[in-house]
Amino acid sequence: MSARVVPPPLPRGYWNPRTELMPRKELESLQLRRLQHMVAWAYARSPFWRRRLDAAKVVPDAIHGLDDIQRLPFLTKAELIAEQTAHPPYGELLTAPASVGVAYHHTSGTTGKTPFRVVESARDWSWGANAWARALYAFGLRSTDVVYLPFGYGPFIGFWGAHYAIQRIGATTVAGGAQPSEARIRQIIDVGATAIVATPSYAIRLGQIAAELGIDLASETKVVMTLHAGEPGPGIPATRTLIEGIWGAHAGDFLGMTETAGITAYECSEKRSGLHISEDYFLEEVLDPLTNEPVAMGEVGERVCTAFGIGLIPILRYRTGDLVRRIPGRECPCGRTFDVYQGGVVGRADDMRVIRGTNVYPSAIEGVVRCYPEIREFRIVLTKVQNLDEITIEVEATAGVAMEVAERLVPRLTKDLADAHEGLRFGVTLVPEGTLPIFELKARRLQDLRGDQA
């Protein structure tokens, strides 16, 4: 990597100031009206929701305040998939014939083998792009930008929404499509891309490949922004530092999911390591994952999402599994009244593992591993040895790093991991180059083999 390249400051601005700057009371009143309408709509038009709300003994006009959302049943991905399995392809979720749809997508399948299928109408799809556009504009993307999307454009929703959002802002999209990383890097240079959209893992991977090619992305590209979703990346300080160093650019963090089409929370140009929640588009609860009670502001809990933007497949009280820490929007100097998820997604409820009494999150491990530029990739492997849980971090050295250098970092990394986890004993193993998988989309770095060994 060359001398640090400092990108120009990000421009400040609001895509839709009417709601982004809306006083909290007015915003909450707006959310209540939209909640009432969405519940009534789902009940009137979706057989699935009619059954669920009847079973929960909730009548649509029983929603008088935002707290009444707690009367609605939770919705899980497993329930959505079960419904679609029983009534393929979309279940009885739809509020209108599927023929009104113009786009099909499905989830990545990260947490389950069967993906959840969604179909969007022209308006729903356009809304998803608008939600992305708000987010990208808040971070600083403008009509003069040229944005490269090194993305496969398959049925997983991935960065499809970002693609249309970039065009909506008036910037230029360059679709990377299905081609090798090396060709993508050369194209980023050729077209003079000023921004890229990728998962944090893939942005790092492009940097590693560029280094192998003798290309310094920070000084040889015009990229000033790297825009990320799909994984908790820029929210991890060491990962943000790594990406920003590789690209000589500002790394932005965005949170969305297939089930609700658009971006739910986004980082603004102030870069305070927090994501503003699009509260006119979503009603977000943060609950204790065990008691299901709301947690206090500033405490970590599971994000539960109700979407107002799409009505063909209503999503009410959806348990996302994302662990977040919500703080008031006023703590960010940008002026937005939307509350903030401090540090983005700080973990996944379903990713947390208890190892000999210590809570372990992959994101916390990543925060330690990314401090070592000598490490290209890592994998967390959980095993059981003589009835005791063991945790091993397999690490692969960056190309060109001498073996003795790599070997020397093992004890240091072992100690740093233990220090970050209340003294928990980690195993660290160097694996040969090319052993660990490369991720273009959502990285899966946790391998829990304990069940296989029972």
Partner: protein, 74 residues
């Protein structure tokens, strides 16, 4: 199931409603009326669907109305 309840209007009398808001609402209502017709050519219908999808987002973002438009094919 109940009769289709397409319109779940927000019916917002926005405190800061402007002349521009009124203009947007007029365009929106006109587009909906046009898409309610059954004599539109395919090209006309398709492009009006796109136009209404876009204008509905303006209406939504400006907190002027909150409709479901699926019965109009949008």
């Amino acid at each position: 199931m109940d009769l289709p309840r397409e319109r779940v209007t927000e019916a917002v009398a926005h405190a800061r409603a402007t002349e521009m808001d009124g203009g947007v609402l007029l365009v929106y209502q006109e587009l909906k009326a046009l898409l309610g017709r059954d004599d539109l050519d395919p090209a006309t219908r398709a492009n009006l669907v796109e136009a209404l999808a876009a204008v509905s987002l303006v209406v939504h973002d400006l907190v002027l109305d909150y409709d479901m438009l699926y019965d109009l094919g949008v």
